[in-house]
C-alpha cells in the first residue's frame, strides 16, 4: 500500500534491536511512509516531541528506560498525548499487555506473530482513528 508522494505519513519507531528496526523501516519505507527511528526511550521521547509523528511504534524491553515509562511520558506530555501508540513487543504476558493498554497504548502486538506487511497494512486504521 504505497503512499502518495505529496503527503507522507510520519511514523516513529522506538526500538533498540537494530535488526528489528531495520526490518520495519525497510518495509514501511517501501510502502511510502516516512520512518523515523529511535534506539532508546529518551531518544524516542525527544523525536516524538520534535517530529510529532502521526503514529508511534514502541518496543517494551529497552535499556535505561522501558517502553512503559516512555508511554507514560508520551501520554503526560501535551504535545504527544494524542499520538496513537502501538506497542510492538515480543513479551506476551497478559499482565504486560493489560499494563500497556491501561497506560494508553492503542494496541499491543506481539512482534513474532505479525509480518512487517501486517503491521504496514494496519497503519491506516490507527492513524484514521485520530
Amino acid at each position: 500500500m504505497t503512499q502518495t508522494k505529496e503527503k507522507k505519513i510520519k511514523v516513529l519507531l522506538i526500538e533498540d534491536e537494530k535488526e528489528v528496526a531495520e526490518l520495519y523501516k525497510l518495509k514501511l519505507t517501501l510502502d511510502g511512509y516516512e520512518v523515523i527511528t529511535a534506539e532508546n526511550g529518551q531518544e524516542g521521547l525527544d523525536k516524538a516531541n520534535s517530529y510529532r509523528p502521526e503514529l508511534i511504534f514502541l518496543d517494551i524491553k529497552m535499556p535505561e528506560m522501558d517502553g512503559f515509562e516512555v508511554l507514560k511520558k508520551l501520554r503526560a506530555t501535551a504535545r504527544t498525548k494524542d499520538i496513537p501508540v502501538v506497542v510492538l513487543s515480543n513479551f506476551d504476558e497478559q499482565d504486560l499487555i493489560e499494563k500497556g493498554l491501561t497506560l494508553g497504548a492503542n494496541e499491543y502486538l506481539i512482534k513474532s506473530q505479525f509480518t512487517p506487511e501486517d503491521i504496514s497494512n494496519k497503519i491506516k486504521s490507527w492513524v484514521s482513528e485520530d
Binding site: V20, L23, M65, T115
Partner: protein, 758 residues
C-alpha cells in the same frame, strides 16, 4: 451426643459386670448401688440379717470409691462392728446371768433355810402351825420355782409351779419314782446325787438337768437340792428352775460365735484384733497367709512384731508408713487408712492396711482392729497408669519442643477463633509477642487476603473451618503484618473435636513461602525473558522472508536487487546464529541448574590454550579497532602450567569473556589478557577499557538475565545468560570468578583455576 460417656471408675464397672452380670452403668445410681451392695453382702455374709444389711447400706454415700472390693469391705467393717456388738452383748448377758445366779443361789439358800426351819418348827411345836403353814404355802406354792420332795426315790411332794412346768397333775406325780420325770440321760446323775445326799456325802447343791413334761418334751432346769427331814425321815428337797430362756440365749450366742468364726476364717482380707496394750487377740487365716505368719502370735505385742518381723513372718515386709506411729494414732482414737506395704512373697504383693480403734460405749479406746487387703492388681494398674501419665508428659514435652522450634508458625485458636497459643515462629512472622496475640483473632493481627485480593471478612478461612467442620489442607494467602511487611504464607487449618463431635480448637500452621514465591516469580520471569529473546531473531527472520516472498525487494534479475538479497540473507544468517547460540545457552543453563552438566576433565596446558583462543579473536578485535594484548609469565624453563579441565568448557569461558570485552569496548580501546601463577592457582584476567558496569549492577552480573526485580524489561542487548554460564563453568572446575569495574574506565574479569603438577 453420639458417644456414651466413659465411666470414671471403669475398673469397678467391669468387675461389677463380670461378677454380677450386666449392669448398665447409667442406671447405677445410689439406690442401685445400695441394692448391689446388699445383695453382695447377703451372699458373702449370710450371717447378717436383711435389716442390718439395709441399715448399713443406707450409710453409703456417693461418690463411690473406685473399689472392686467395696461390698466385701463394707461387709468386713459391718462384721467388725457386729462382733463388737455381740461381744458386748455376750458380756452383758454373762454378767446378768452371773448376777441372777448369785441372786438365785441366795434366794434358794434362803428358801431352804426357811423351809427347813418351817419343817422343824412344824415338827416341834403345834402352836403357830397355822401361821407357819401360811408361810409355807406362800413359799412353796406361790414361789416362782418348782419344789419337789423325794423320799424312797418317789415323789412325796410337788408344788403348783411344777404342775405348770410339766403339766402333770399333783395326784399323778405323788408316789411315782422321781426319775420318771427326768430325761433319761440325766436319770443316773439325779439318782446318784439323791442317794449320796441321803448318805450325807458331799453333793453339788446346784446342777443342771432336763426334766420331762407330760407330752414328753424336755425342759432344761437348774436343780438346787438339799437334804431335809420329811415326816421324820431323811429326804431330798429340790428347787427346780426353768432355764430354757437362758439356754436359748446361750445357744444363740454359741451359734453367732461360730458364724463369726467362719467369716473370719473364710474372708479374703486379713483381719487382726489387738487389745488395749497392742497384743494380738486374733488373726484370721487370710492374714497369716498374706504375711506368711510363722508362729502363733496370740498375746504377742505388735511393737515386738514390728521390731522383729523376720522372726514372725516368712516374707520380708516393707511398709511405707511408720508402723509404730500408725499404732499411736489409732490408740489416740484416729483411724489410719490406706497404709501401703509390700510383701515379698512370690510373686510380691502390695497390701493396703486399715487400722481402726475399737471403742467402748463411752468412746474409750479398748483395742484396735486391722484389716489388710491385697491391692497388687490395683497397684499394678496404678503403676501402669502412672507410667502412661509419664509417657504422656514426655509426649507433651516433645510436642512442646516441636511447637517451639518448628519454622512454621503454629497458632491454636479456641472455638471463638481467639488465639490461645502461638509459637515463636509466629512471633517472628508477626513481630508481636505471644502475649499480645492471645485473646485476639487472626485478623486483628494480620491483614490477610487471598491470591485474588479478597480481604477479611469476605475472606475468612478460619471461620470456614467452624462452619464446614472440615480442615483447610493447604492454601496460600498474603499476610500484611502490623509493621507493614508483606509475606506469602502457605496455611493449613485443622479442627480438633471434643467427644461430642464439636470443634473445640483449631490448629493453624502457617509457613512463610515468600522466598518460594520469589523464586517462582524469578522462574516465570526467566521463561518470559527467554521466550522474548527467542522471538526477536525469529521476528527478523520471518519478517525478511515475508518481504522476499512478497516481492517487496524486487526480482532477483537486477544487480541491485541481488545485492539487497545477499544483504538480507546475511541478516537472516546472523539471526539464525543468534537463535542457535541462545538455544544452546538455554540448554546449558537448564543442565547447570539441574546438575546434569558433566565435565570431561583432561590435563591441559593453560597458557598455550589462552594464547590459541586469544589469537582467534585478533581479527575481530582489529576490525573494531581494539588492541588485544596477552601478558603472561611463562616459566623460565619454558614449560607451561597445567590445569585439570574440560577443554571445550574452558574455551567457552574465555570466548564469553573476550566476546563481552570486545563488544563493550569502543574503537581505540585496549584489552589485556593476563596469566599469573599464585599459590598453586592460575589467575586469568580479561581487562578492557570499555564502558564499565555501574556499582549497583556489579553483584548481579553473574545472574541469569540480571534479574533485578522489575528491571528485566531494561535488559542490555545479548542473552544475559553468558556470564551465568561462565561462572557456573568456573565453579564446576573448582575455580573462582570475580569482577571489578568502574563506569567509563573499564572492566576486569578474573578467574582462577587450581594447578596440577606437570
Amino acid at each position: 451426643m453420639t458417644q456414651s460417656k466413659k465411666p470414671k471408675n471403669g475398673c469397678f464397672t467391669s468387675l461389677l459386670n463380670k461378677k454380677m452380670g450386666k449392669l448398665d452403668y447409667e442406671k447405677k445410681n445410689l439406690k442401685e448401688y445400695r441394692k448391689f451392695v446388699e445383695k453382695r453382702i447377703g451372699k458373702l455374709f449370710p450371717v447378717f440379717s436383711k435389716t442390718s444389711v439395709g441399715d448399713f447400706s443406707r450409710q453409703i454415700r456417693l461418690p463411690l470409691e473406685e473399689d472392686e472390693f467395696t461390698p466385701l469391705y463394707v461387709g468386713t467393717n459391718m462384721m467388725i462392728q457386729l462382733i463388737r456388738e455381740k461381744m458386748a452383748e455376750l458380756e452383758n448377758l454373762n454378767k446378768k446371768l452371773e448376777k441372777r445366779v448369785v441372786k438365785r443361789t441366795a434366794q434358794v439358800v434362803l428358801t431352804n433355810q426357811s423351809l427347813r426351819k418351817e419343817l422343824s418348827t412344824r415338827k416341834g411345836a403345834e402352836t403357830g402351825l397355822r401361821e407357819s403353814e401360811e408361810r409355807y404355802a406362800t413359799l412353796v406354792e406361790k414361789g416362782n420355782d418348782g419344789i419337789v420332795i423325794i423320799q424312797d426315790r418317789t415323789l412325796k411332794f410337788v408344788n403348783e409351779k411344777m404342775v405348770k412346768l410339766t403339766s402333770f397333775k399333783i395326784a399323778d406325780a405323788i408316789g411315782r419314782p422321781f426319775t420318771d420325770f427326768i430325761s433319761p440321760e440325766y436319770r443316773d446323775l439325779a439318782l446318784r446325787n439323791h442317794k449320796l445326799r441321803l448318805m450325807g456325802k458331799p453333793v453339788p447343791i446346784t446342777y443342771e438337768i432336763e426334766i420331762l413334761t407330760k407330752k414328753g418334751e424336755k425342759v432344761p432346769v437348774e436343780i438346787n437340792a438339799s437334804l431335809i427331814e420329811y415326816r421324820g425321815r431323811k429326804a431330798s428337797m429340790a428347787i427346780i428352775r426353768d432355764i430354757s430362756d437362758r439356754r436359748e440365749v446361750e445357744k444363740t450366742l454359741q451359734e453367732e460365735k461360730g458364724k463369726l468364726d467362719a467369716i473370719y476364717k473364710t474372708i479374703k482380707d486379713g483381719l487382726a484384733l489387738y487389745d488395749i496394750d497392742g497384743r494380738v487377740l486374733f488373726m484370721n487365716p487370710s492374714l497369716k497367709k498374706l504375711f506368711g505368719v510363722k508362729t502363733n502370735l496370740f498375746g504377742v505385742e505388735r511393737v515386738k512384731i514390728a521390731k522383729n518381723r523376720r522372726k514372725y513372718f516368712k516374707y520380708y515386709l516393707e511398709r511405707y508408713d511408720d508402723s509404730l506411729e500408725t499404732q499411736r494414732q489409732v490408740y489416740a482414737g484416729r483411724p489410719v487408712s490406706n497404709v501401703l506395704m509390700k510383701v515379698y512373697s512370690s510373686p510380691p504383693k502390695y497390701v493396703e492396711g486399715n487400722y481402726v480403734p475399737i471403742k467402748d460405749n463411752l468412746g474409750k479406746v479398748i483395742g484396735m482392729s486391722a484389716s489388710f487387703r491385697d491391692v497388687t492388681v490395683l497397684k499394678n494398674q496404678s503403676e501402669k497408669i502412672a507410667k502412661q501419665l509419664l509417657e504422656m508428659e514426655k509426649q507433651k514435652e516433645r510436642v512442646q519442643a516441636i511447637f517451639n522450634n518448628v519454622e512454621e508458625g503454629v497458632y491454636i485458636f479456641d472455638k471463638n477463633l481467639k488465639i490461645i497459643q502461638a509459637n515463636s515462629a509466629c512471633e517472628i512472622m508477626t513481630g508481636c509477642e505471644e502475649k499480645e496475640m492471645i485473646g485476639k483473632t487472626y485478623y486483628e493481627i494480620f491483614g490477610c487476603h487471598d491470591r485474588v485480593g479478597h480481604f477479611y471478612p469476605e475472606f475468612d478461612p478460619v471461620s470456614k473451618v467452624i462452619t464446614t467442620k472440615e480442615s483447610v489442607p493447604y492454601d496460600e494467602h498474603l499476610h500484611t503484618s502490623k509493621n507493614g511487611k508483606q509475606r506469602w504464607v502457605g496455611v493449613s487449618y485443622t479442627p480438633i473435636f471434643n467427644e461430642a463431635g464439636d470443634i473445640e480448637q483449631i490448629v493453624g500452621v502457617v509457613r512463610d513461602i515468600t522466598a518460594i514465591k520469589e523464586l517462582e516469580k524469578a522462574k516465570s520471569e526467566f521463561v518470559s525473558v527467554a521466550s522474548h529473546e527467542l522471538r526477536t531473531p525469529l521476528t527478523v527472520i520471518n519478517g525478511y522472508l515475508s518481504l522476499l516472498l512478497n516481492g517487496d525487494l524486487g526480482k532477483l534479475e537486477s544487480e541491485k536487487s541481488r545485492l539487497t538479497f545477499f544483504t538480507i540473507l546475511n541478516k537472516v544468517k546472523y539471526e539464525t546464529e543468534r537463535l542457535t547460540k541462545l538455544v544452546g545457552e538455554l540448554l546449558n543453563v537448564s543442565r547447570i541448574e539441574e546438575g546434569r552438566l558433566r565435565l570431561v576433565l583432561r590435563k591441559l596446558p593453560i597458557i598455550k590454550l589462552v594464547d590459541e583462543i586469544t589469537s582467534d579473536f585478533k581479527a575481530m578485535a582489529a576490525m573494531k579497532g581494539v588492541r588485544l594484548q596477552v601478558i603472561h609469565k611463562v616459566r623460565e624453563n619454558g614449560r607451561d602450567y597445567y590445569v585439570m579441565a574440560d577443554q571445550d568448557k574452558l574455551k567457552e569461558i574465555l570466548v564469553n569473556l573476550l566476546d563481552n570485552a570486545i563488544k563493550f569496548t569502543e574503537s581505540g580501546g585496549e584489552i589485556v589478557i593476563s596469566c599469573t601463577e599464585k599459590k598453586g592457582q592460575i589467575d586469568i584476567g580479561v581487562k578492557d577499557t570499555g564502558v564499565g558496569i555501574e556499582s549497583t549492577m556489579l553483584p548481579r552480573v553473574f545472574d541469569k538475565f540480571q534479574q533485578i526485580s522489575g528491571s528485566y524489561l531494561k535488559e542490555n542487548k545479548g542473552t544475559g545468560l553468558g556470564l551465568f554460564i561462565v561462572k557456573s563453568l568456573v565453579e564446576l572446575h573448582k575455580g573462582k570468578i570475580w569482577v571489578e569495574s568502574e563506569v567509563g574506565a573499564g572492566t576486569e574479569f578474573n578467574f582462577s583455576l587450581p594447578l596440577v603438577p606437570q
